[in-house]
Amino acid sequence: MFLQQLINGLTLGSVYALIALGYTMVYGILELINFAHGEIYMLGAYLGIILLGFFTAIGLTSYSLYLSLGITLLLTVIFCSSYGFTIEKIAYKPLRNAPRLSPLISAIGVSIFLQNYVMLTQGATDKVFPSLFGGAGFTVMSTRITYLQASIILVSAFMMIMLNAFILKTKTGKAMRAVAQDKVMASLLGINIDTIITITFIIGSGLAAVAGMMVAMYYGLVNYFIGYSAGIKAFTAAVLGGIGSVPGAMLGGILLGLVESLGAGYISSEYKDAYAFIILIIILLVKPEGLLGRSLEEKI
């Protein structure tokens, strides 16, 4: 039972971590809670279903399941990144110098827009992701792990390692860190801040797209409002780990997944969705800088 919940929690947590990375990267650079980020994840889940359906219709799936899954994932990432890019250009960039809460309200607007956009174009009822692998899996120490769970954990881990390497090793990744630390100084060294911000949105959206598609496969059901609660939970994860910190987002995501799954198993599953909020509130009140974050002082 405990190990089972642990595996479930780890699966869920790695998805939260992927989404949380998008929140934390944007917050690190723009100090903006990108409220619409959860919707990108929702778009990813929908796109997975739509595109896979399309490939099934044209017969690619029966030719090779893995090829069509791969192409679907790639296209989902491309589309979601495009959405992220477009949202930044339309809804946030004009508000770069506005008071802090204006972009937050704008982000809420985008979130409402995207939810209803998907509801209008895809219908208000649940969409089903075809069950491709059934419940196939393996058993370790009397704990059942499906192949899907294993791949979700592995893919998430892979993406996080790649992202970490990107941020630590590449020139663009270093520039992202530099911009997060001091925008004016970064621009004095010739770094184009707008380009870096755009790249941040594209990467964050891409990660959310992967998370969305994997969750669609995992639960098999998708709805236009899944982005809201997943988004809030992922944001909680980001705050838990220390907003602005990439390793923090990963840690926070996995911890939150574990808390939720163990809480559902041992305390009450009805209040499953409330755990994230309770943690969010406690963290913000007790240690607002998060587990791995830096503390902020009021400027006079």
């Binding site: 802090r100 209803n116 909680t236």
Partner: protein, 380 residues
């Protein structure tokens, strides 16, 4: 690469590229046909809009001046403001029941929005979970009424008190947080209340909600008819407006606004900022609690469905659309957002879509709201 970017930046081709891009984004969701329609529409619409925007700015000016004119007709001496009540009081006599019904609803929303305006508009604390107070007010009222048999005039003050205490207790730890963190915590609070209402079956009957709430009575006269309830709500709306105006012009209102403008300077004036933020949240909760009672006794039935995050956003929109911090603006915002979807029944499907897009556009072009006169901004 450079050739490509120069093509994209070509002012003549740019609209076509934007249209192509947005059509590309729509493609997977609606198919080739809809995407092509969008592409063609936008290719024509964007240049047309650009062309018009020159003329549009004069239109915008006209709107401004007509807003000014409306202001001009409003009695400038506040002693005559009550004259505005006459047409409002006449509504039940001339309009259909349906209109009265919607007007009652907008009255309840006016009280709610005025309450939120204290927190967001005056004090500058973004609250994304205001619906929690509304829900606590409504549920306390419903429970006191159905379980203990308390009447409107005893259950209402008790429920409002419960709401204020809840608001206060929640605010004590929360107000120390910075702007956007506070927003998130309030959102979390709203969700927790919603989840609790949905799951605490023994008390709230979960998603089934509470029914059989008694209508209010005055003496032994039951306010069961729509019209009499209308006047009850009107009474509270008028009270709310008067209280808001007076608070706004007192040291408490000034301290709240000072907090919105500059917290540091406010404490340099000897004002305890934590204290006044608490006042603000508790005072806002008071009106939400009252609105909750009115809502419960109007509907005679409540369920968690009426108290979702979208409801919080809707109330926030009323405050923002009308004009943050402006009492008249908030009232107009509430009326618009309640009536608009009723008037535009056919396009109701697109209402939330438009609301979302509208918020973005508003933040970009008119962050102080449609009727906000001063350049009021929230947060810093």
């Amino acid at each position: 690469m450079n050739a490509l970017s120069s093509i994209i930046k070509n002012p003549l081709l740019k609209p076509a590229f934007i249209a192509l891009w947005l059509a590309f984004l729509l493609l997977p969701f609606r198919g080739v046909k809809a995407a092509s329609v969008l592409f063609i529409t936008l290719t024509i619409a964007i240049p047309a809009f650009k062309f018009l925007s020159g003329h549009l700015s004069s239109l915008v000016k006209q709107i401004h001046s007509s807003v000014e004119r409306v202001r001009h007709y409003l009695p400038s001496d506040s002693r005559f403001l009550f004259l505005l009540l006459l047409p409002a009081a006449a509504i039940p006599l001339v309009a259909q029941g349906y209109i009265v019904d919607v007007t009652i609803l907008s009255g309840i929303y006016i009280i709610l929005a005025l309450g939120l305006n204290v927190v967001v508009g005056f004090t500058g604390l973004l609250n994304l979970g205001f619906v929690a107070y509304y829900a606590i007010g409504a549920y306390s009222f419903a429970l006191l009424n159905t379980k203990l048999g308390m009447g409107f005039w005893s259950a209402m003050p008790a429920s409002v008190l419960i709401t204020v205490i809840a608001g206060f207790l929640f605010a004590v730890p929360a107000v120390r947080l910075r702007g956007d963190y506070l927003a998130l915590v309030t959102l979390g609070f709203g969700e927790i209340v919603h989840i609790t209402l949905n799951n605490w079956d023994s008390l709230t009957k979960g998603p089934n909600g509470i029914s059989g709430i008694a209508p209010p009575h005055i003496l032994s006269f039951g306010l069961t008819s729509l019209n009499s309830f209308y006047y009850l709500v009107m009474f509270f709306v008028v009270i709310a407006i008067i209280v808001m105006r007076r608070i706004h012009a007192s040291k408490i209102g000034r301290a709240w606004i000072a907090l919105r403008e500059d917290e540091i300077a406010t404490s340099a004036m000897g004002i305890n900022r934590t204290m006044y933020k608490l006042y603000s949240v508790a005072f806002g909760a008071f009106w939400a609690g009252l609105a909750g009672c009115l809502f419960a006794s109007k509907m005679r039935f409540i369920s968690p469905e009426s108290f979702t995050f979208m409801e919080s956003v809707l109330i926030l929109c009323m405050v923002i659309v009308g004009g943050l911090g402006s009492i008249a603006g908030v009232i107009i915002g509430a009326v618009i957002l309640v009536f608009l979807p009723e008037v535009l029944r056919e396009v109701q499907l697109y209402r939330m879509l438009a609301l979302g897009a509208g918020l973005v556009v508003l933040m970009i072009f008119r962050p102080q709201g449609l009727f906000g006169g001063k350049n009021v901004s929230i947060g810093s």
